[in-house]
Amino acid sequence: MSTFGNILVSTLVQGSLYAILGAGIVVLFRSTGVVSFAQGAFVVVGAYVFYYLNARVGVPFYAALLLALLSMFVIGSLIYLLMFRRLTGAETFVLVIATLGLNVVIQTVVILSAGVNLITPPEVLSLATLGVWHGLGIAPYQIFTIVAAGTLLIVLQLILSRTRLGSQMRSVADNTLLAALMKVHVHRMSALAWGIAATCAGLAGVCLSLQTPLDPIGLQDIGLVVLAGVMLGGIDSVTGALAGGLLLALVQQLSITWFGGQWSDPVSYLVLLGVLLVRPQGLYGSKGIVRL
């Protein structure tokens, strides 16, 4: 396969992962004002829950996927209802720190219940390329990731921009207090947003587990790197999460090709710094979002 084909496919797959994860961050931010540093931990939980259901219990692939996503939704909502509800209306930086704490706690819980050792799940979707066409080859697990990202983004975008539910979620993000005064069920909306964010992370976790061994420490790094993509696209735009994710993946693939694998992360964070300096609202974000 040609280098070009390789870069293209890897960019699409990695970009889809960032888009899925980033969409969760955007939805959570747009409905609750929380910038989540805890997506990485949810990725880990999603991957492990799916592995447990699929490989240990023997639930068929799609059923296990559905069950895993459902349980992620429940976990996310519960975390809001049990913890973050107490912080409704708190300052942004308190919320950021709370998500940092949450990330550590969830990660610890996973390590305590599943151990720190790498687990290599059985191959569910084939890792073998389906055949090469003009230097382009793609494997079933890659197709799954891209399709999953596309479906998720379209559904989320429609919910947020077209439905009653979406407007209510956005009203909570705009002004939590006013939303509450205007009879919007603030807690229900926030729980929903947390549930969606966790579900997105869970889906990213499942997709990751199709291609890499499970590792409670290594898997969660993506939760921070993805912030570079989210900021690049604009933290209040689902479209931005897709564009930013793809661009970030492209930059990473190029730097890996040109400089070597160890450059992937530092280059991502340089991108993050660059965005913050030059265009803090990102490509698709609204300008008012960055002002004080």
Partner: protein
């Protein structure tokens, strides 16, 4: 101006401006300093070598945490940059201290300068951005520094890190033990004295102003840019100095040390100890550094091979997260301030026991003459209504004298006109000690319209907010009772109040800027009700249907907000500063709309107004709120410019 006065000694708090502002800044008092010195002395006398080693670490981490408290607690910027900044200090020290031209204090000073320079660079993007952007910048710094460190170690062949020779002063070499701890303690005490002097004086006030509101600070000529930069540069320098000392102390600088977890642990220290408190930073450093040790020694008592022993490292690192969440959720001010408050409350209670201060929590006179209650729930209304009721413009205007008027209005309003809302001696205090309402009593009947007038800061908004509910995070203390439709709502959150049918249109942010007009009325409100109840407003808003509410004019926003609120079919509709900032034509229009709404069955209106003519036209009763006390409105003429 008021933002600057928060925390000023005995400064009377202006009401309603920094309602939920932070607690008074607590400099590290002399007593805390004495406790600190005492702990260090005891440690030096009875501590084992390992205890002393840990003590030294705690002091170094405390220095670093003090730097973060400077940035986060005083200037309000979230940072997870302690790790990389300490790494910069540590590597600088490791590299420079090898040279003969750089004896002991020189590398520390250079490390501090380089740290300060880094602070300047990373501060640039956040000068014009919101809080969490700085957190992101420091996150990027973490990974970039870590990568640079790893690359440097690999390239220079120091695969397990760089060694650092111990500190030598006048031929005396510091190794672990009493001398080292004493040296570090001196540095810590000097830092604390320096910082507390700075916080007490001009820089501290500038940072506090910026933290409370950058916009407000800049309007009163505080150079936000300069002071923010000063804080970034100074705190980064201090943290790098801590990193330099850390390098000397451990004798080995390795990229394995400066992980993200390490960086986060300093945030944990600051949060756990209590932000905006130097004692907090030190207590936090001690708690976070020592609790894993404590856990390790406890785990020795568990049976061999149990899960606690097996997973000890994981549990230890998870402890950070648990500490953060526990503190944020249950002790929002942190450990040290909570302890201080506990001490303060205890002292107050003792004094009360001794009879020094007989003060009940709220002691000022009510301002409302007590008169014998007429009947049950109406008692507090009766104390007010005789003087307070005015001739309204509508046909429901009450008769001229006391009891008679009460009965008459009841008659006019029909047999169903029962009391909807009864406020009894409501007092509201904000977390910063400001009293916004002082024993206010009021009752509103069904279908009644009441207007409250009063000048800025009189507590009108607070009165409405206490009916509409406060979030727990707003830390507002309420006393008295508020009965709405048979429910006690004094402690209610906005969600609970709204579900009972209390809807408030706030003064300023009354619409959702990013939602369109259509989304407001269709998705948040009940479009059918909005159309049938206020058809003319519905018509008017049609041409703005697809515009985001953020682009509407003040009058259009008010109409949209009232239309949305009315469509929620409230039992009590409250409107704060109904006519403020509106053109006369628009005031007329909104007044007409409200007069129309007043005809609706089972709806009571409570309107806050500064324009007394409008208030008199709309309401059956006009009350005057001043200094947190409700007074009859007759004969008083509060006007806008009346200061």
């Amino acid at each position: 101006m008021s933002t600057l006065r928060v925390g000023a000694k005995s400064g009377k708090e202006p009401i309603g401006i920094s309602g939920t502002g932070p607690r008074r800044t607590r400099p590290l008092g002399v007593s805390s300093l004495l406790v600190l010195i005492f702990v260090v002395v005891v440690l030096c006398v009875v501590g084992s070598e390992f205890d002393l080693y840990l003590g030294g670490l705690v002091i170094i981490f405390a220095l670093s945490a003090l730097g973060l408290d400077w940035l986060m607690g005083r200037t309000g910027q979230v940072s997870i940059g302690n790790g990389p900044l300490m790494a910069i200090g540590a590597y600088t020290t490791a590299i420079i201290s090898r040279h003969p031209w750089a004896p002991f204090p020189v590398p520390v000073i250079i490390a501090g300068l380089i740290g300060a320079g880094t602070g300047l660079v990373i501060a640039l993007p956040s000068l014009r951005l919101r809080g969490f952007y700085f957190a992101l910048t420091t996150l990027a710094l973490q990974f970039i520094v870590q990568f640079a460190a790893e690359t440097y170690e690999t390239d220079s062949g120091n695969f397990s890190g760089l060694t650092v020779k111990p500190i030598r002063v006048f031929g005396h070499s510091f190794n672990y033990g009493v001398g080292y701890v004493a040296l570090l303690s001196v540095i810590l005490v000097l830092t604390v004295v320096l910082l507390s002097n700075m916080y007490k004086r001009l820089p501290g006030r500038m940072w506090r102003a910026i933290k409370e509101s950058e916009l407000a600070a800049s309007t009163i000529q505080v150079s936000v840019r300069r002071w923010k930069l000063t804080s970034f540069v100074g705190s980064s320098g201090l943290i790098a100095v801590a990193g330099s000392l850390f390098a000397y102390y451990t004798g080995l600088v390795s990229s394995d040390t400066f992980t993200l977890t390490f960086a986060i642990s300093f945030v944990v220290m600051t949060i756990v100890g209590g932000m905006n408190s130097m004692a907090g930073a030190i207590v936090g450093a001690a708690v976070v550094t020592l609790s894993p040790q404590l856990l390790t020694s406890i785990s020795g008592h568990f049976p061999q091979g149990s899960w606690v022993q097996r997973d000890l490292p994981a549990i230890n690192s998870g402890l950070y997260g648990v500490l953060v969440l526990l503190v944020l959720l249950y002790l929002p001010t942190g450990i040290a301030p909570s302890l201080q408050n506990l001490g303060g409350d205890g002292a107050k209670r003792l004094r009360r026991l001794w009879g020094d201060s007989p003060a009940a929590p709220i002691t000022q006179k009510t301002g409302i003459p007590e008169s014998p209650p007429t009947n049950g729930l109406h008692s507090s209304s009766a104390t007010l209504s005789p003087q307070a009721q005015r001739h309204g413009s509508g046909d429901r205007s009450p008769a001229p004298s006391g009891e008679e008027r009460d009965e008459r209005s009841t008659l006019v309003q029909g047999s169903e006109a029962r009391t909807l809302l009864t406020i009894h001696e409501l007092a509201v205090k904000y977390a910063n000690g400001a009293t916004a309402l002082n024993r206010v009593s009021l009752s509103i009947r069904e279908n009644e319209t009441v207007a409250v007038v009063g000048r800025n800061g009189a507590g009108k908004t607070t009165l409405l907010r206490s009916l509409g509910g406060f979030f727990g995070t707003e830390k507002v203390r309420r006393r008295g009772s508020v009965i709405f439709d048979g429910h006690e709502v004094i402690g209610a959150t906005p969600v609970q109040a709204a579900s009972l049918g209390i809807v408030l249109v706030p003064e300023r942010e009354k619409v959702f800027p990013s939602l369109t007009v259509a989304e407001h009325l269709r998705h948040l409100g009940n479009a059918e009700v909005a159309r049938s109840e206020l058809p003319e407003v519905w018509e008017f808003l049609q041409r703005l249907w697809k515009s985001p509410a953020g682009s509407l004019s003040g009058g259009e926003r008010q109409l949209l907000a009232i239309s949305l609120a009315a469509s929620l079919e409230p039992r009590l509709l409250m409107i704060d500063e109904m006519s403020l900032g509106l053109a006369p034509v628009m005031i007329e229009r909104v007044t007409e709309v409200l007069l129309g709404l007043r005809q609706r069955d089972r709806l009571s209106l409570l309107i806050v107004e500064q324009n007394i003519a409008v208030a008199e036209r709309l309401a059956q009763r006009v009350l005057h709120l001043e200094n947190g006390e409700l007074r009859p409105g007759l004969g008083t003429r509060p006007v806008d410019g009346d200061l």
